[in-house]
Amino acid sequence: MLEIKNLHVELEEEDKQILKGVNLTVEAGKVHAIMGPNGSGKSTLSYVLAGRDGYEVTEGSATLEGEDLLDLDPEERASLGLFMAFQYPVEIPGVGNMTFLRTAVNAQRKARGEDEMSATEFLKEIRAKAKELQIDAEMLKRPVNVGFSGGEKKRNEILQMAMLAPKMCILDETDSGLDVDAMKLVADGVNALRDEGRGFLVITHYQRLLNHIKPDVVHIMSNGRIVKTGGPELALEVEENGYGGILAEAV
């Protein structure tokens, strides 16, 4: 599904290398987790994959189902089926949540040469999905993320994910700022979307999210590289011993 090979990335403005040769393959139907200390390059990896400005890829490649991602605009990547749940979802006053989502859904459909979703069809679907995430009708009408609590913003991200039905989902520290109940709700939303045709890359600082979203593979990232890969037990090891031991061992 997602294949990253020897990816080297610099910050455009600072001439500073952040990713120093990332290799990673996420298969369809699998959940991969990336853990790592602050500054290891986890969020940079997600931004580079989603197509944010300000980064320069100096070496390596990233493909989604064989399509080169790195030359595409963010919206083209999204239409190919890439989705990133933001660590800090942006507030957009004056643009209704529903208007925004319908615009996004139909823009992607149009880009893929599919028919646009009718207003009634969209409404029916969004209502059903919002209900599962305990997002009320009022929240759907409000401007995008404006006045939402941290938990509401993250649930809104998952709602967008559910409506856009991507092939490859990247969750960038989706657990940050969430209490236990909110995290469970978000995890349930993600778990409901797990299926054979869809890959997940869950970026997190802490193991606790992985209690709710059970990964198939866990990677430890440090200093711009993946330094260790293992099963779910690797996350537990981090939880117990911190990153210190693992990183010392990897070097």
């Binding site: 944010r52 823009a107 880009a111 401007p143 967008q160």
Partner: protein, 427 residues
């Protein structure tokens, strides 16, 4: 100080093209206004309140021609249940207008009612305009009071059952028009007034509104989309106790638009909201000049002005809140912001507060900015193409002004027009 010769010459040249309507109850006010124009002269480039906007086009002896705008959209507010009053190049068109009868409302033409000797409008015509000349002179408004040839006189005694819509048509590329409307809202009266359409090649508009105690006046205006118009508009309002005044203006295009709004809150617990959203592309100058005077207890005022500028367009905002001594518990808010869609456009702002009471809350802010890159990336990451994402964020920027429109249906229509304006320019 003697008037500069250039200003005197320009004023004389302009006055030479006009003739004062005579007879009837308005004549005294007209003569007085003419005397005032002669005393102050028409605005010049060196006047403090014309520092950012060159008045030349508005004061020239004759108007520059303006091409007739070929409307490719349905008329604004066309679907609203309304009483329609049509002006073609500044002349009332009875055939195109609805019957003037409306419950709790009396509507007359200035051009006809003006010949009577006694009329209720006599107490207001030019009166609010004069009050609005202190401390800042507005000679174009005085010029209008002297020479306006038509307009409507609206007396509202209760809740008007539907909006009155002033619809303007421009059919002569050389038309140079002065319209003067007077609106008297009796205690407890309610009215929504709509204005739309290109008025003329050049227009000078004055609207005087007396809002008595507990009355509510709602105004929604759409200027444009004629590109070559030169417009100077003035609103003068006086607000009684517990009255409410709301005015929103959307402006699209126009080489020269100066919208002045002068409001005096004279009764306790009154509220005045003035908002504007303008969109300019290329040869465009749009100036909002607002002066709100608080002269009573516990009054609220809001000024919300947003300008979207591209391809070298210029936006100007001069907004003032004056809180007089004794106007305690005043709640004043003023925000003026521009969204510059490229580096060639500019926004010039002069926010002012002048406060002589000690128990008030007044805030003002003015910003200029570009599209927020984080928000743009967020939308694009969801699959929204760059152009549409930029438009959504532009509408987001304008939203605070649009939210000042009370009626949801009217607000929706305004947003639809804004969307269309942006979509026509989408790359």
């Amino acid at each position: 100080m003697a008037m500069a010769q250039a200003k005197l010459d320009a004023t004389d040249a302009r006055l030479a093209t006009l003739s004062l309507p005579t007879g009837g109850w308005a004549e005294a006010a007209r003569r007085d206004a003419l005397t005032r124009v002669q005393a102050t002269g028409l605005p010049g480039r060196r006047d403090e309140y014309w520092k950012y906007t060159r008045p030349d086009m508005l004061t020239a002896a004759t108007a520059a021609e303006a091409a007739i705008f070929d409307a490719d959209e349905a008329p604004v507010f066309g679907e609203v249940d309304q009483l329609k009053l049509v002006f073609v190049d500044g002349v009332f068109d009875a055939a195109a207008s609805d019957d003037l009868a409306l419950d709790h409302v009396r509507i007359e033409r200035l051009a006809e009612a003006g010949s009577a000797d006694i009329h209720w409008a006599r107490d207001l015509y030019g009166t609010l305009e004069i009050a609005g000349q202190t401390p800042v002179v507005r000679p174009l408004a005085a010029l209008n009071t002297a020479f306006a040839t038509d307009g409507v006189l609206i007396h509202v005694t209760g809740a008007a059952p539907k909006p009155i819509a002033l619809v303007y048509h421009h059919s002569d590329p050389k038309s140079d028009v002065m319209l003067h409307h007077v609106i008297r809202m009796d205690a407890g009266a309610e009215l929504t007034l709509l204005e739309s359409g290109p008025v003329a090649a050049r227009c000078n508009m004055v609207m005087e509104i007396d809002v008595a105690d507990s009355a509510a006046f709602n105004h929604v205006r759409v200027q444009g989309r004629d590109h070559e118009r030169q417009a100077a508009t003035h609103i003068f309002a006086r607000l009684g106790q517990e009255s409410r005044f709301k005015s929103f203006t959307m402006t699209a295009n126009g080489v020269m638009t100066r919208n002045e709004c002068v409001i005096e809150l004279t009764g306790d617990d009154a509220s005045a909201h003035v908002a504007g959203a303008c969109m300019g592309d290329g040869d465009f100058l749009h100036d909002d000049t607002v002066f709100i005077t608080h002269d009573a207890l516990n009054c609220e005022s809001r000024q919300v002005f947003k300008k979207v500028l591209r391809n070298g367009a210029t936006g100007v905002f001069q907004g003032k809140i004056l809180v007089k001594a004794g106007a305690q518990k005043t709640d004043g808010y003023q925000i003026s912001q521009s969204l510059l869609l490229d580096e060639d456009s500019q926004f010039l702002a002069k926010p002012e507060l002048e406060i002589y009471a000690d128990d008030v809350a007044c805030s003002h802010g003015s910003t200029s900015g570009a599209i927020d890159e984080d928000a743009l990336f967020y939308l694009r990451a969801r699959g929204v193409p760059h152009g549409i994402a930029t438009d959504l964020l532009t509408l987001s920027f304008l939203a605070e002004a649009v939210e000042e429109i009370e009626d949801a249906g009217l607000a929706e229509e305004i947003v639809t027009r804004m969307e269309a304006w942006l979509a026509r320019r989408r790359g």
